[in-house]
Symmetry: D2
Subunit: 383 residues, 4 copies
């Protein structure tokens, strides 16, 4: 049990700056009170999540949403708040020029613009000390024939190669895949196989990131996790959950058993290290942002605790014997355990309140930001 607590104590879950901003669906973005108006305020909110959970010390940025004049100053601000800058997320999907794609656009001028943005993101990595660039391309087409599938792969490969070459020795990029949305016919990086093939060609500084909401119905995500770990190509996770498409709900909310299975494969495959980035990527459309992040962090912690509880020896023995029910039972025993008491003890040992949700509610932080953050423009997708 002390081993498990030690493993949980060193857990590191990164929260994204955009989770603190307003978000929504194509139908409506519901505004919330107290939402940050700039990257500095986002970091302040993220620092709250770390303050109450103790395992969320870094914050991912999104460029240009988090564009500032002085990134070194922003990084210092983070440090002052007790957190650090995490992954830099590029954004080549919110400019009118990108209507037909960014790095895969048929127009070379648009491709150049997109690539320049990606290279700028590496500059920002240098300035903030971030070692990870996350690349998600919304690129694709809506109609058969609209553009040439293969040519777009050629353009993609060219852009990835240029970014790869720009990376410093201690930097890497994570290539994200997604089945669909916003492209509705072809998505240029639709599945892990596509991301994997590009990363293999490029080399060790290119890895795949698994967003748990980006798969076709019925996809076995933990299989992908196990496979990528075996190949040394799992760079990290964008955690969230979904019932239908890319719903971006709180991780663990839709299928906690799946999250447990994923974390089990992470641990079994040697991925529970700092080499794999565990990031949240969610939209709190209806629920309040900071508590939504705290709950999400706790959900990952609980799934991890259960995965750590799996009796590896008993499991291996049952598997070797071909004992289908017995092997399944070993896994389920861990899953069915209520790990909340273990985590409460761990938090107390870390000097934290055992109940982060209640502690945050009592802290008065929300009342503070609700009254202070009046006027200005709330941050949101695209702002």
């Amino acid at each position: 049990m002390s081993d498990i607590k030690a493993a949980l104590r060193r857990q590191h879950i990164e929260t994204p700056s955009w989770a603190y901003a307003n978000s929504g669906t194509r139908f409506k973005v519901f505004a919330q009170e107290g939402v940050p108006r700039d990257p500095y305020e986002k970091l302040a909110d993220a620092a709250q999540v770390h303050a109450f959970t103790g395992v969320a010390p870094t914050v991912a940025l999104h460029i240009p949403w988090d564009k500032v004049d002085d990134y070194a100053d922003l990084a210092r601000h983070a440090t002052d708040l007790g957190v650090r800058i995490g992954a830099i997320n590029s954004n080549v999907f919110q400019d009118d020029d990108y209507r037909l794609g960014s790095v895969t656009n048929p127009d070379p001028a648009v491709r150049r613009k997109a690539l320049d943005h990606l290279l700028e993101c590496v500059d920002i990595m240098d300035q903030t000390g971030s070692d990870t660039l996350k690349l998600w391309f919304s690129d694709g087409t809506n109609y058969p024939g609209q553009d040439d599938i293969r040519s777009r792969q050629d353009r993609l490969a060219e852009a990835l190669s240029a970014v790869y070459d720009r990376l410093g020795d201690d930097q890497r990029f994570l290539l994200e895949y997604k089945l669909f949305e916003p492209a509705f016919y072809v998505t240029d990086v639709p599945d892990w196989g596509t991301a994997y093939a590009h990363c293999v060609r490029l080399g060790p500084k290119a890895q795949v990131v698994v967003d748990t909401g980006h798969h076709a119905p019925g996809t076995n995500i933990e299989f992908i996790v196990a496979f990528l770990l075996r190949e040394g190509k799992l760079g990290g996770f964008d955690f969230n959950s979904r019932f239908y498409a890319d719903d971006d709900l709180m991780v663990g909310a839709a299928d906690p058993f799946q999250l447990f299975r994923i974390m089990y494969e992470v641990i079994r495959g040697g991925g529970y290290t700092s080499d794999v980035a565990f990031m949240l990527d969610q939209c709190h459309n209806l629920e309040p942002k900071i508590p939504g992040q705290i709950r999400s962090v706790m959900n990952v912690q609980e799934a991890t605790a259960k995965a750590l509880l799996v009796d590896a020896d008993a499991l291996a023995a049952a598997q070797a014997e071909g004992d289908v029910l017995g092997a399944n039972a070993v896994l389920m025993d861990a899953y069915n355990t209520d790990v909340r008491p273990i985590l409460a003890v761990l938090r107390e040992e870390m000097g934290l309140d055992p109940d982060p949700m209640k502690a945050y509610a009592r802290s008065g932080y929300f009342e503070k930001i609700r009254t202070e953050r009046v006027g200005g423009t709330q941050a949101g997708w695209g702002a």
Copy 2:
């Protein structure tokens, strides 16, 4: 063949005012040149679609997007342009009050507000002469436990009943269902069964509308069409197409064979009459709006022409004999026929250009609106 042309000549496809406005995904709305700035300009664009196709004489409105001071004036404007006002579409999803639902909201004050809007839509029907109210509710929940599934059905039933009672003798409402989005866990009207059950309880003025993009993967839509027609409960269609979720692509673009099968069931089931409304409900995110609508109307025409070509006697004979391949071949013979020549002839007989796309392109209308419609605020979702 003359029967088929006669049937095609009387076809009636309704275009939606919002198809002429800017639209997009949650990631980005790409603005286009020449987009209308008010309902009057939307009607003008819709009139172009009718002018070049001859089968799109009505235009659906969306309230409050198409709110005007004087609906009678708007209706006259339509008539002047050669079109008419079609269905009135209610909108109870774009106000901050509707964060947790409209007519199913746990808060009775919000429910009242939503119901008042629906009743106002009936007022607008009276003023515009529209006989059809389309009800789509985005209502639902994102998380298990968020609200009580059954209580929400009670609230829904109450609202529907109030609207039903308000309808005039020659008015009806069409209840729309949708699997998910924007709600991500429960949607209060998620499938045809739910819409059907509510409509059966209410009576003949309540019918189901089938949006072709609103189903779970693998759903056989033509079965639903056949079933609802058998029950006398098919009120109409919201046509569009999709590869993944509710992509809102041009109807017939993703799966033209499916559209043909749907139109075949419409005809076979006696639904090719004015009792069933054939409406488009699409988003032209990337492609230009007016040509997108023209192409969509043409796609429905082509599918209809093919469906009309099915040799009903040969099909019935093969089916009765249990001749699986023979019966399938009868259907496929019609589908594989190139019906574009028939439609070209029909258009010439109707005094139209045989190629609506080229004729529109030549007309200079786009150049006109691109230069005239500068300044002001372009219409879009939520405007």
Copy 3:
């Protein structure tokens, strides 16, 4: 807690005779040792499941798989073993005559044959004292055009009506729906809406049965449960679980959270009574049959215990306040509780071993049947 234990004590889960027989996929049926060779041996195995769990007192039969000369004798045999005959399941899918359908076949002679079988099943209900007939139709088509969708509905309605009229005062039938398989284009009862509409027309003795594996991807099953309970049309469940299609895995194995949500809606909707039949319908292709059933019964018990633990008052309060995270947390608190200790205590109070799996393994029953049941033909799908 005593209320919860009382509710769990009166739980009634029916196991199916065919779960004890060999089963498989279209690719292979793997034979197991000790598998029953006739309905009497199946009942003996089912009695073991009840002996060790205390909540599985009835056994569903499948006709003709469980055809015997003297059903009264079979029923007595059941009683001697401490169990009873439950639902009678009709089978109109395993005769060469049913290639193009049973009650919806284009050939009236085949329809008559199928109907006769259904009526014979009611005779067997009379003879065994069963009050429930379960109707599942594999009927459908593989190719567009193969047969007429609507005519098949007419034929289905006619057959259902004839069966309905034959039911005694205390008998009912449950109509099962299924998305696909073995039909691959149209299935004649593909969804709950179809089953519901037929049942509503017929009257109170016709109800819908929900097989948890028979839905399109993304379908919210607990919504259907809540809706059918509200309409008084939920007749029962065929429990199993799946990751992809109709995998027929052990209930609760693929998504235990979903099973919990379903049981929560059952309880919330007043369905936790003898009016709703809780039946297992699974295939133990790889794992041993009797332990597979015991584990499945336990999985349902655990989901039920968690659902009973939901703090209804706290949930209602949070829902009324629109507290999204708070309401979700009330549900998750119950789900995250480890209920195995409660169930162990309950079993001891019922005079049972607290660990049914180990107790069965120790009992020597399997060794007994493995050696005794040599020779003869093992029962299986179609036998």
Copy 4:
């Protein structure tokens, strides 16, 4: 047009020996009259398909279903009938030993047995002159925890490597992937990415085969085709069609537009050569076998003809201009063309009847086999 006819004339579609045998679902295999009783009779039937279509000169074998004492004799028999032996399909899924897997089984003795079978298939290649081995593994697990995902990959890699090393200079293997079935939780080769990664490690004689029915809902198959062609790793197709899962319907029956898009990418990507194997892999459960194959071959021909009709220059021009509707229209113009007349002319030029279906029906072959093939055991899955 003469270019197109020339391309169509050299088309080569391989039919599978098992398509002529009885097949079905797990619920029922419906027997048909005249079905072959041995591999020699299967080849005779396949020769009919070639005789009437002129483009199906090879026949895939399935071992052990097509096991004979003298493969050289079988190959001569084929030649006598005017056809040749095509790909050898291994079968490691129909022996009781394979309950928990074949090459990925936890038991090394079972793995050895499976590997020996694969190596025997290469022997048969040597004896029949076949240059292609098709590897499909049903291997996987049904329950979480049942076996170790990663260890199974290690075992798979080991077996593939052993087979690869055994291949002759002019031989290759094609690795097939499948989302699920018969395994219901993990499938060891579930997607193209997995097959691709293994093939890349092994070298040029290992390629991926795309079965059009083996994907998750919403998967863009033509993207995979384009991608694999770009990587030089597309080895061939198993053609069939489906509405839901792996329905194994006639290719082109469920979504002819998809088949057209696939053939377009084949041609555009340089895959319309003898390096890519175009094989059918279907089950004619309801329809007669030989006409089912003839229709399927014709469906592939029609899709190919349409794909060849695409105006590549016009398409490239529209794509370069970002003309979404224009580019889509170029593709649709080809798809909407009725190519049956072209194919009829081609057949006459090839000395064939322009209507293969009617010509076969008139030929009297079916009446012949129906009367001659009485007695003996019909071939089927597993026989």
